[in-house]
């Protein structure tokens, strides 16, 4: 009887003290991530989570970063800024995270960057594209590891400029969602076309609300406007709905559909399958079939193996973010010295799946924006990534340095 009691005590002691002993010994980099897990943008959140976990497993399997294991906590941001702010604060005060991480919606990104600034905790932005975050709302603890809309619209303007020589066009119309993301793409494509001296005329602009289910009236109105080029700033499922509805009206035979920020997203191609029209000019922040490098092939195949599906663009941002953290901690030697980590992230080079041969992505020290190559392609039949039946091909590649805002603009907007 007595021995049983003692044994029980020993077991109890083990249960109580062993885990804490383990924690004391293990060196951990704590990352607090916020991603939408519900609703329409849930797809991007789930993909980001899967890719972040994949990067963490890869790094931890090789012994971690500077002897530290990476540990990440995920919370549903619900795509709501006020809610995300509360989670971010809890991450900082209770979980004592070294890094804030993630976010799909720019609105949530703008709210969380404020918390990061106040608490001097580094925030790695992996997906949201609003240019403001690395210009007007710049703060020293924010870093973005995916392209912003300025970069994609600059690549877009360069593409249109070249196109004018081959196939003269003059007029454009614009359609995009009625919030910051849609409005800034409209401003940025015009700004860049003017900057490159392209002669064009904007004949109409449409800003339906985000998640508008029915575009019929917009489509018939666009057909009446007869633009040569339709610049589109849709996002996610809205692109799918628009393409399905516009196809029956023959819109794609009447004008060039041009969608350089998110039109070439894999989930658009996989949802549309054989319904995806050929000849649309599109791009995305990551492509499953470009560049054809060892790293990109391995990344896509490994993601497929782990989740059973091919990744959307958002996944690569999360993958990049984890590697950026690991490289910075390796340079500094500890995740606890925030100021040194900021210095390490500024100018940091990371080789990413989306980097073509001979180029390595790097973080611009002035704006904390990652600098990357952008490739714009045309939809062509390709069933190597099912259920998609069309993928992008006939690539035109734009050099990373050419996509940055001009010096004067950076300085003007940073001062704001």
């Amino acid at each position: 009887m007595k021995s049983r009691k003692i044994a029980l005590w020993i077991v109890l002691m083990l249960v109580v003290f062993l885990p804490s002993l383990g924690f004391a010994q293990e060196k951990v980099i704590r990352i607090g991530a916020l991603y939408p897990m519900t609703g329409r943008s849930g797809l991007y959140g789930m993909d980001s989570v899967a890719a972040a976990e994949m990067a963490i497993d890869e790094i931890n399997a090789k012994g971690g970063a500077a002897g530290y294991k990476l540990d990440i906590i995920f919370t549903d941001s619900k795509s709501k800024p006020a809610y995300a702010v509360r989670v971010a604060e809890r991450y900082i005060t209770e979980d004592k995270v070294h890094f804030l991480f993630g976010v799909v919606s720019s609105a949530v990104g703008l709210a969380v960057t404020e918390i990061s600034r106040q608490n001097k905790v580094i925030f790695i932005g992996t997906d949201h594209a609003a240019t403001e975050l690395t210009l007007d709302n710049f703060q020293p603890y924010y870093f973005r590891v995916s392209n912003n809309t300025f970069q994609s619209m600059t690549a877009g303007a360069l593409y249109l400029k070249e196109l004018q020589k081959e196939k003269p066009w003059k007029t454009i119309s614009y359609i995009g969602p009625d919030y910051a993301y849609g409005h800034s793409q409209l401003d940025e494509i015009q700004y860049n076309l003017k900057r490159f001296g392209v002669d064009f005329q904007l004949v109409s602009k449409y800003l339906p609300k985000l998640y508008e289910p029915d575009y019929t009236s917009f489509i018939t109105s666009l057909i009446k406007d007869k633009p040569d080029v339709l610049v589109s700033g849709f996002w996610g499922g809205d692109t799918v709905a628009f393409i399905k509805q516009a196809k029956a009206y023959g819109l794609f035979e009447k004008m060039l559909y041009f969608h350089p920020d998110a039109g070439g997203n894999y989930e658009v191609m996989s949802a549309l399958g054989a319904e995806m029209p050929a000849g649309l000019v599109l791009s995305a922040r990551h492509h499953n079939n470009w560049p054809d490098t060892e790293l990109n092939r391995r990344y896509v195949a490994e993601f497929k193996r782990r989740t059973g599906r091919y990744p959307t663009y958002a996944a690569e941002g999360a993958y990049a973010g984890i590697y950026a953290i690991a490289r910075a901690v390796e340079k500094v030697g500890t995740p606890d010295n925030t100021e040194a980590l900021v210095k390490a992230l500024e100018g940091l080079q990371i080789k990413l799946p989306e980097d073509p041969e001979g180029f390595t992505s790097y973080i611009d020290p002035q704006t904390h924006q990652i600098v990357q190559v952008q490739a714009i392609g045309v939809s062509v039949p390709d069933d190597k990534f099912p259920p998609a039946k069309m993928m992008l091909g006939k690539w035109k590649v734009y050099k990373a340095e050419d996509l940055l805002p001009p010096k004067e603009l950076i300085e003007k907007r940073l001062k704001k």
Binding site: R40, M46, L207, P208, K209, Y211, S217, Q245, A248, A274
Partner: protein, 295 residues
């Protein structure tokens, strides 16, 4: 502004209106008969779209039967939800608040169930063969599938008119809107009536979702996106007024179509302006007959 464009834009408005009506009709039917405000009505629309996807894209059932089965399946889920959950809160003080909270919970639950079963990727249903192209009348250009949707909408209007005004079941349904207690005293099984009506209404929502799926993207959260416009239609037509919903949908569809054509940057504002004006000056709805206005 030429005539052909105005005609095209009108047909655009009509096709938008038909889908709006098909979804709103279920919402208004439940409200009219049972005084239940089903905030989750959009979720049955979403379920219908996913059922349609499963039946036609995964199991290969022909399109039109798949639409009907998807609608029926959504209706069964609807009846079950009414029987298991909503029925328990009837007659409580402040029932309206409970209804909204309960049906809002249903939205969240259905969204997550859909995500667990089908994943969060966007799904799509191909248009049925024979409805891929468009017909051209003069300069006016209308996709055949949009025409088919308009036809289905008219069929539903006729069928509903016949059931509601010419059959005993329809009379019972209308009577339960007027006075549930007396109807019960007359020996009608009122709870069963409500369950059946709820099932029919959600079946309409489900069928609409499946019907719209070839034109829209099927995603979790799709229900929330259409509930607001459906609600505007119901308000315009008068809460619980089936015919009003049809006119309300056409009004909203056309307002939208012409706002897009003439004031594109402010287009999304117009539907709300129409709703606010209606709520202030004709809260009983623009198309309410005098009898309903009193109630």
């Amino acid at each position: 502004m030429d005539f052909a464009f105005l005609a095209t834009q009108m047909v655009s408005g009509f096709s938008l209106a038909t889908l709006l009506f098909l979804n709103a009709s279920g919402l208004t039917l439940i409200f009219g008969v049972g005084r239940i405000f089903n905030f989750a009505h959009g979720s049955f629309y979403m379920l219908g779209a996913y059922f349609g996807y499963q039946l036609s894209a995964v199991w290969g059932l022909p399109f039109w039967p798949a639409i009907l089965v998807a609608g029926a399946a959504a209706g069964i889920v609807g009846s079950a939800s009414e029987y298991l959950f909503l029925r328990r809160i009837y007659g409580r003080p402040h029932e309206g608040g409970f209804q909204i909270l309960l049906t809002y919970c249903l939205i969240l639950i259905f969204d997550d169930l859909v995500k667990m079963i089908w994943g969060s990727e966007y799904k799509s249903i191909a248009k049925p063969p024979g409805f891929l192209g468009a017909v051209q009348i003069g300069d006016v250009f209308i996709p055949t599938y949009n025409l088919a949707i308009i036809a289905v909408g008219l069929l539903v209007v006729l069928a509903a008119w016949w059931i509601l005004s010419r059959t005993r079941a329809g009379r019972i349904a209308r009577a339960s809107a007027v006075d549930r207690e007396i109807l019960g005293c007359l020996g009608v099984n009122v709870p069963l009536t409500l369950t059946v009506v709820f099932g029919l209404a959600t079946a309409l929502g489900g069928m609409t979702g499946a019907l719209a799926a070839p034109l829209r993207s099927v995603t979790p959260g799709a229900g929330i996106e259409i509930i607001i416009d459906s609600l505007i239609v119901v308000v315009l037509g008068g809460m619980g007024n089936f015919w009003g919903a049809w006119f309300g949908a056409i009004l909203l569809g056309e307002v939208n179509a012409f706002a897009v054509a003439f004031v594109p940057e402010w287009s999304s504002l117009f539907s709300y302006i129409v709703m606010v004006l209606t709520l202030i000056f004709r809260p009983e709805g623009l198309f309410a007959p005098a009898r309903i206005r009193k109630a």
